[in-house]
Symmetry: D2
Subunit: 332 residues, 4 copies
Amino acid sequence: MNCFTLDLAPDGLGKLTGYVQEPSSELSNMNKRPALLIFPGGAYQRCSDREAEPVALSFSAQGFQTFVLRYSVKEKGVFPQPLLDAEGAIRALRTHAEEWNLDPNRIAVCGFSAGGHLASCLATMSAPELRPNALVLGYGAVDKKVALTNRPFPLERVGPDTPPTFLFHTWEDPVCPVGGSLAFAQALNQNGVPFELHIFQNGQHGMATGKPLSSNGVLENTDADYSDWIRLCANWLFHQFGSFETPGRQFSYLTVEGEGRFHGGIQLGDLLRYPEAKEVILKYLPEIERHSMPRLVSRYSVPQYSKFDPATLPPERAEQLAKELEALPYKG
Amino acid sequence: MNCFTLDLAPDGLGKLTGYVQEPSSELSNMNKRPALLIFPGGAYQRCSDREAEPVALSFSAQGFQTFVLRYSVKEKGVFPQPLLDAEGAIRALRTHAEEWNLDPNRIAVCGFSAGGHLASCLATMSAPELRPNALVLGYGAVDKKVALTNRPFPLERVGPDTPPTFLFHTWEDPVCPVGGSLAFAQALNQNGVPFELHIFQNGQHGMATGKPLSSNGVLENTDADYSDWIRLCANWLFHQFGSFETPGRQFSYLTVEGEGRFHGGIQLGDLLRYPEAKEVILKYLPEIERHSMPRLVSRYSVPQYSKFDPATLPPERAEQLAKELEALPYKG
Amino acid sequence: MNCFTLDLAPDGLGKLTGYVQEPSSELSNMNKRPALLIFPGGAYQRCSDREAEPVALSFSAQGFQTFVLRYSVKEKGVFPQPLLDAEGAIRALRTHAEEWNLDPNRIAVCGFSAGGHLASCLATMSAPELRPNALVLGYGAVDKKVALTNRPFPLERVGPDTPPTFLFHTWEDPVCPVGGSLAFAQALNQNGVPFELHIFQNGQHGMATGKPLSSNGVLENTDADYSDWIRLCANWLFHQFGSFETPGRQFSYLTVEGEGRFHGGIQLGDLLRYPEAKEVILKYLPEIERHSMPRLVSRYSVPQYSKFDPATLPPERAEQLAKELEALPYKG
Amino acid sequence: MNCFTLDLAPDGLGKLTGYVQEPSSELSNMNKRPALLIFPGGAYQRCSDREAEPVALSFSAQGFQTFVLRYSVKEKGVFPQPLLDAEGAIRALRTHAEEWNLDPNRIAVCGFSAGGHLASCLATMSAPELRPNALVLGYGAVDKKVALTNRPFPLERVGPDTPPTFLFHTWEDPVCPVGGSLAFAQALNQNGVPFELHIFQNGQHGMATGKPLSSNGVLENTDADYSDWIRLCANWLFHQFGSFETPGRQFSYLTVEGEGRFHGGIQLGDLLRYPEAKEVILKYLPEIERHSMPRLVSRYSVPQYSKFDPATLPPERAEQLAKELEALPYKG
């Protein structure tokens, strides 16, 4: 994993921390991953660590490329600076999409509390190419009652082009009233924007993951039901973006006899019954004898084996093996 | 997060990749984390990426410091070299415990397939100070039927000092017979070693996390029930090691009137009712007015507030605030 | 379990089906259970079986006494008749509380679709003694857009005395607009009534449990995320009502030597070391020898054993045993 | 639900309690359900209520027809009487299969503790037609160390024809040693019988469901991880037996114009566009106008609607409607 922190200037004043999983030939369905960009909360006075790395890693564990933006706060946090920072972060993700193995069209932004206010500004006010493809709002500060002097009120900007949104909140929240999430959901509903909303009755403001690991040792920051939001949110994101491709395994059912000759498309298990073919195969795959996985491996063709275990049989060697097999004379 | 790869030489030939979460004043209960050191499988021919980073991140997300050891394989993988590599990795974790914010006495080792063989060697054959504090074996190659020429047979080394062990396997496994895990569990049982064992009926060999993200696009590498091992294993590890401390929140119930004077131990909500105290408090905590969290914050004393939100009110400033409050005359 | 169907007349025209779990000395913490009364949906044209027994049994399995009301529908379903039926059902539950082992103050009503309309009428319009203690609304027909000619509009009756409410709905619902649940939640919020709300994006109208078992064989009636509502709802109800008491086990730490005499409060394990006491104990508990549970049972006093296993040692026999023990002379 | 208790005599001395869910036209995929027959534990001295109804209802909630056998105990519980009782119960289930809406070839037997001993006797010693189709053993008393004088030792009877088995146990169990389950699993493994085994480290003997509801108020009888056995077991049973059929929904894509005439196979939504067809349809389905489910219902043909909502449009009326539609002249 490539963990780094970037200064976004001149594209903003923020700092972008990336948790980028690198590609592997053994994870061939994971080269272009969805991404989650997190805006922690902190009343525009700070960016809380409790809503940063612990959240990022929760989604890294689900296969996402994750990022945390520490945007401008305190005196530097006067609008539109935080929004410029947010736009800089999205631009960075889309620009580096190839380098960071992410799909520039499957980027979700997840904001907590004040970060939820910022995320919803980005999703409703920025130029189309700077908006996320999905929005996640955790106890977002989107209610009129939350003091937002000199800040935009994104609720009024919700439109049919607002991205699909996942919202969660607790009814008990004494800081950001739950009515904000209700009103935001209603605005989405009126505009025909798909959304999912989970309001848990129990739990205070700022519970982050709801697990002890992001609690700062405060029991009131934990709740088992609330912490379900992570699973529900990951499932929802997979529903929006699609999950990672896992087609059923392909086996070969071709035999030497049926084909009337040797070639790489034939089932390895069948080829191994012919001493001349076995000799060739063992040159490339000596472990195939020692291993005890006959049920599985013997049903692959040469290219299928290479796809299954590219470290042992890289594509170019698989081709060579196939050629050597083709060169063998078959006496019927 | 500090992600790095270390060469273990001269303490072995392995490469140790670390996923180290750094401390934060907002994660004060997470400074000394438990650690999980992973040995991927690969028949001592390679170290599979599918059993490396995806597993590490699954446990990072649960608060663990995680590590992957890529030990010596192929011609270099002749015993005792892999075991020396494993010992080098454990030594590195214990030596760098402070630097890597981990508890040197809460280190679990998790091995898959051949990596499970290696992990169980480490746990049963190495010097006491090089053994892990808990052992996790995923479809471990610990059965006699698995070709282990010139390699130790750890099953026979299980003793009362073998660490508590969590085993999981699938009955269908065509590569490493499930009987190995059964026999290992029986050896643990005979020696009075606590263990947990989950044998899922369905699933082939090498399913790693059992989720699409570690499947290499192979449907047969996924199974929802099997993938429960991660949650069950994390819970088991917390049971062995203890979880992260989350005592109930402490509030102050002291009032100015009750105390007959101003001081920092009094509830902020009560202090704020006195204009002279309010003026002092707002110097240190200007946001306390703007914020709308009276229910919560107003019940803290000064040091409790500092513990709750050290970024805004660091301990030394909390002390100054307390002193200024104490200096205020109280007219009754 | 006592399963029965009652005609509610003259207290209404409905039919009440009960699934009443009977008390047992081995389930001593379950004698006064919470109850769930279900109003299936069906557009006031019928009461759908898919939202009846499968839902009832889901909550029976969580320890609730459950009931299904089949209220008046079609031409008989003209208001206020269905509401009179609902009131008759609540009255029946409260009247038979003792007979049916339920707590008359812990009755939740759960309505689906049109049944949700009926449930919310009951919870907002009926006399206080006929209202439920908690309300569950599954894709409730509470939106203005749903044709409700000649029926009350409960949304406008929500007040501070409306019971705590758990709502769930799907965004995709093409029959009962999700906006109804949002508006209902907002009304609860404005009245300070605690609530929990789960809007799942995916899923059509009338999914009942969301599992194949209530799907009528229609794949579109199933969704794994949606079916979480049952667990979330049961947890929420336990949070409202309290769960079933499970205090930590009480052991005796008294010894014969410490007490200077024999009596029933002494740890059985200690008593069994004295042949004269053992003889007495074996008369009452012959299996205590044959059984191999010394770790556990030997730490009980006589009354604790009786509480643990009343079938083997009923209270009156426990008293006799204690008396016989007390009568034994102790020679120090 | 039909709850009843049967005397098995002369087919045994046991009492069989049934929890039989009755068929419904709205639960058309549930007419032939799998069954679970439960043998509670109690050291052949009693049949514990804690392992009876609470377990039965847990599986009723998953769609199973469930049964509890209270077999002969104490002086009457001398072998082979309990086994004869067990055989009588299986015979009753298979004989009444049609009446009780269960599949006689999908009967699982689940035994706890001594009931696990009895269940494993039945599964390994009885005549083929009296064996269950799947076996569930909860902390089964199958270890040699458990006093079994004058009782069979089923472990030695395990053979290739033993049914697939799901075992669970806790390592801490002080009464029935966990080694029994390990040995039983090994015997199954040696005989090629599919099995699933979950050994949880924590938890005492006799935890039943592991939830407060079956704890008798004893905290030590509860454990959240352990209570997962119910979900894992239900999933495993569905894997053995198949789950309840839920094919994707069938819609009609035929139009009046495309067909050149009116008939019942045409999409209702299309038919409703023709006043003459609408008039006919409204006779049979007056609510189709009032209802607001056009998206869904309008895509059904007449027989599909009848299958979707047989209460409103029973098959015979659907046929009449189709005939009336066919009789309408179509002018092109």
